[in-house]
C-alpha cells in the first residue's frame, strides 16, 4: 500500500454515512412527482421500504406460505420458524429478556388497545388514575378514555411546556397514590420531542404505577433498551421502521403478561377448548388470536436486520445533521414559526407560516415534488396547546440528504412567494 493511500484510509471516518448507497436500496424513492424528483419527507407517517424487505415478503409468499403453529408439514414448519425467528429479532432489537415477552399486533394502536382492554380492565377501579401527556398521538389518548369510561377511572394529563418538552416536576406533581398507569410517548410525532421516559418510569414505579411507552416515533431513530428503561409495556409499528404495514409489537414484562386475560378469543390462543371453558395458551400466543400477519412479522424482521446493518446510532446522527440544517435555514425565515423546539428532538420539523395555511403549504410543496404531512397529525390537543389549526411537518429518515433539505427550504420560500 502506498503511503498516500494509507493516509487517505486513516482520514476517512469509518462511519461515513453513505446515503447514495442507502438510497439505492429504496426503489420508491426514485420517481418523479409533478415532474420533479420526489423528496420524501413524510417519514413520521410511514417510511419507504428497502428492497430486502420487499424481497422477503415476495419470497415468503412464493416459497414458504403456510399457516403457523398448526401444521406438521414442511411449509408450515418453515413459516413457523421464520415467524418465530422474527420474534427473536425483535427481542434483540429491544433487548427484551425473552422472545415470549413480545406480542405481534397490527401496530402501535392495537398494542395500546390491547393493554387498555386486557391489563386495564382487569386492574383499574373507579377513581384510579391513568396519566397521559398533552403531546400524545390520538392512539395514546382514546384507548385510555374508553377504558376510563368502562372502569370509572380518571384520566390525568401532564401539560407540555412552550417548547414542546415535558416538565418532570409537573409530571411528578400529577403522580399520586391513585395513579395506576402512565402512558407516554417516547418521542412526540407532532413535535419531535424526546421525552425523559427513563426518569418518568422510575418516578411512576416509586408510586407503584406501571408504565406504557409509545415508541412509534422512537425505534426508527434511537437505540431502545426496554430493560434499561425498565418500562412495563413498549409499543411500536413496523411501517415506521422500514417494515410492512399491518404489523407491530407489544413488549410487556413477562410477570405482567402472565396475569393478563386474553384480548381477543379465537384459534391459536388456546391449548384446549370445550363448550364449558377454554384453557388459554401462555404468552405471547394467548394474545395472538387468529392467523397472524405472518408475512408482516417476517418483513419486520428483515427491516430490523436492515436497520442493524446500517446501525441505529449512525442513523440517528445522520438525521440529527439533517434536522440541524433544516432548523437553521427555517429559523431564519421571516414569518415562519417552528412548533416544537425542545433541545432533545428526533428529526421532525413542524412549522407554520404567517398568513399561509398548512394545507396550502402542503399542496405547493407537493407541486415541487416535496412530500410533507400537513394537518393536525392525529394530535388535535397538541394543535390546541400551541394555538395553531394545523402545521406542516417534515420528518427525516436514513435515506434523506442535505440536498433534499435544501430543496425543502427552497420550496417553502416558493410558497411564501406565491402568497406574496
Amino acid at each position: 500500500m502506498t503511503p498516500a493511500r494509507e493516509i487517505l484510509l486513516h482520514t476517512v471516518p469509518v462511519d461515513v454515512f453513505d446515503t447514495e448507497r442507502i438510497r439505492s436500496d429504496f426503489p420508491a424513492l426514485h420517481q418523479a412527482v409533478h415532474g420533479q424528483p420526489l423528496v420524501y419527507l413524510d417519514n413520521a407517517a410511514t417510511t419507504q421500504k428497502p428492497l430486502k424487505v420487499i424481497e422477503v415478503l415476495d419470497s415468503y409468499y412464493r416459497n414458504d406460505n403456510a399457516n403457523v403453529h398448526r401444521g406438521v408439514h414442511a411449509l408450515s414448519e418453515r413459516a413457523t420458524a421464520a415467524y418465530e425467528a422474527a420474534r427473536e429479532k425483535v427481542r434483540k432489537f429491544l433487548n427484551a429478556q425473552s422472545p415470549q415477552e413480545l406480542v405481534f399486533v397490527r401496530g402501535t394502536t392495537e398494542a395500546i388497545n390491547l393493554v387498555a382492554q386486557s391489563w386495564g380492565r382487569a386492574n383499574l377501579r373507579p377513581n384510579d388514575e391513568v396519566v397521559i401527556t398533552e403531546t400524545e398521538h390520538h392512539s395514546n389518548i382514546v384507548p385510555w378514555q374508553m377504558l376510563c369510561g368502562q372502569t370509572g377511572a380518571k384520566l390525568r394529563v401532564v401539560p407540555a411546556e412552550d417548547n414542546g418538552e415535558l416538565s418532570v416536576e409537573r409530571y411528578a406533581q400529577i403522580l399520586g397514590e391513585r395513579t395506576r398507569l402512565v402512558a407516554v410517548s417516547h418521542c412526540s410525532n407532532a413535535l419531535g420531542t424526546i421525552n425523559p421516559v427513563k426518569q418518568m418510569i422510575s418516578l411512576a414505579h416509586e408510586t407503584g404505577a406501571v408504565v406504557l411507552v409509545d415508541g412509534a416515533q422512537a425505534v426508527p431513530h434511537l437505540a431502545v433498551d426496554v430493560r434499561d428503561l425498565d418500562c412495563d409495556f413498549y409499543a411500536f409499528s413496523g411501517h415506521k421502521l422500514y417494515g410492512p404495514t399491518g404489523i407491530g409489537v407489544l413488549y410487556a414484562k413477562m410477570a405482567l403478561l402472565q396475569d393478563m386475560p386474553p384480548y381477543q378469543g379465537g384459534g391459536e390462543m388456546v391449548k384446549h377448548v370445550s363448550f364449558d371453558h377454554a384453557i388459554y395458551h401462555d404468552p405471547p400466543l394467548r394474545f395472538e388470536a387468529g392467523t397472524p400477519n405472518i408475512a408482516g412479522a417476517i418483513g419486520l424482521g428483515a427491516a430490523i436486520d436492515y436497520v442493524d446493518a446500517v446501525g441505529i446510532e449512525a442513523i440517528g446522527r445522520h438525521e440529527q445533521d439533517l434536522l440541524a440544517r433544516a432548523t437553521a435555514a427555517m429559523a431564519g425565515m421571516p414569518g415562519l414559526r417552528i412548533i416544537g423546539t425542545a433541545p432533545e428532538k428526533t428529526g421532525i420539523l413542524s412549522f407554520v407560516l404567517q398568513n399561509i395555511h398548512a394545507h396550502d403549504v402542503g399542496t405547493i410543496l407537493d407541486m415541487q415534488g416535496v412530500a410533507v404531512r400537513v394537518g393536525h397529525h392525529c394530535a388535535i390537543p397538541v394543535m390546541q396547546r400551541y394555538q395553531v389549526p394545523a402545521t406542516a411537518r417534515a420528518s427525516f429518515a436514513l435515506y434523506n440528504t442535505r440536498e433534499e433539505v435544501d430543496v425543502l427550504v427552497a420550496a417553502v420560500y416558493r410558497a411564501k412567494e406565491v402568497f406574496g
Partner: protein
C-alpha cells in the same frame, strides 16, 4: 411548475384569500345559521344569512381555513346574495359538478376560478366546505355539518 401552481392558486383566489368578502359579517337579523367542519384538516367555518320571502338578502361567513376554503366561501357569499333558495341550490349543484367531474363544461362566471381544484382531489373538500355549510343553513339545520 410555477404556472401549474398558478392554475390552482389563481390571482382571484389569492385575492379572495387575502381580502375575503363578507368575512366576519353577521347579517342583521340573520335567520339561518350553520357551522361546517372538515375533520381531515380541521377547517371550520360558519355561514349565516337572512332569508326573506325565499330570497337570500344578506350573507356572511366566519372561521379559519386554507386559501381554497376561504376563497371559495368568499366567492360563494358574493354570488349567493340576492338569489332565491332554488337558485342557490342549483348553483351548489353546478359548483359541485365543476369540482368533482372532469370535463364538465358550463361557465359559472367568477366561480369558474375554482375549477383548478378538481386536479387536487385532496383539496376538493376544502372548496366544498362553505357550500355544504350553506346547504345546511338553507335547510335550517342546526349544528354542524361535516365533510366526512
Amino acid at each position: 411548475m410555477m404556472t401549474d401552481l398558478r392554475s390552482l392558486y389563481e390571482e382571484v383566489i389569492l385575492d379572495h384569500n387575502r381580502n375575503p368578502r363578507n368575512f366576519q359579517h353577521a347579517p342583521p337579523a340573520a335567520n339561518h345559521v350553520a357551522h361546517g367542519y372538515n375533520p381531515l384538516c380541521g377547517d371550520e367555518l360558519s355561514v349565516s344569512l337572512r332569508l326573506e320571502n325565499g330570497i337570500v338578502t344578506d350573507i356572511g361567513f366566519d372561521g379559519a381555513g386554507c386559501a381554497i376554503a376561504t376563497a371559495s366561501a368568499s366567492l360563494m357569499t358574493e354570488s349567493i346574495k340576492g338569489k332565491t333558495v332554488e337558485e342557490a341550490k342549483a348553483l351548489f349543484e353546478s359548483v359541485h359538478e365543476m369540482l368533482t367531474q372532469q370535463g364538465s363544461a358550463g361557465d359559472l362566471g367568477k366561480l369558474q376560478v375554482l375549477v383548478g381544484v378538481r386536479e387536487y382531489p385532496a383539496r376538493v373538500k376544502c372548496a366544498t366546505l362553505a357550500w355544504h355549510t350553506l346547504q345546511a343553513a338553507l335547510r335550517k339545520e342546526q349544528g354542524t355539518v361535516s365533510t366526512e
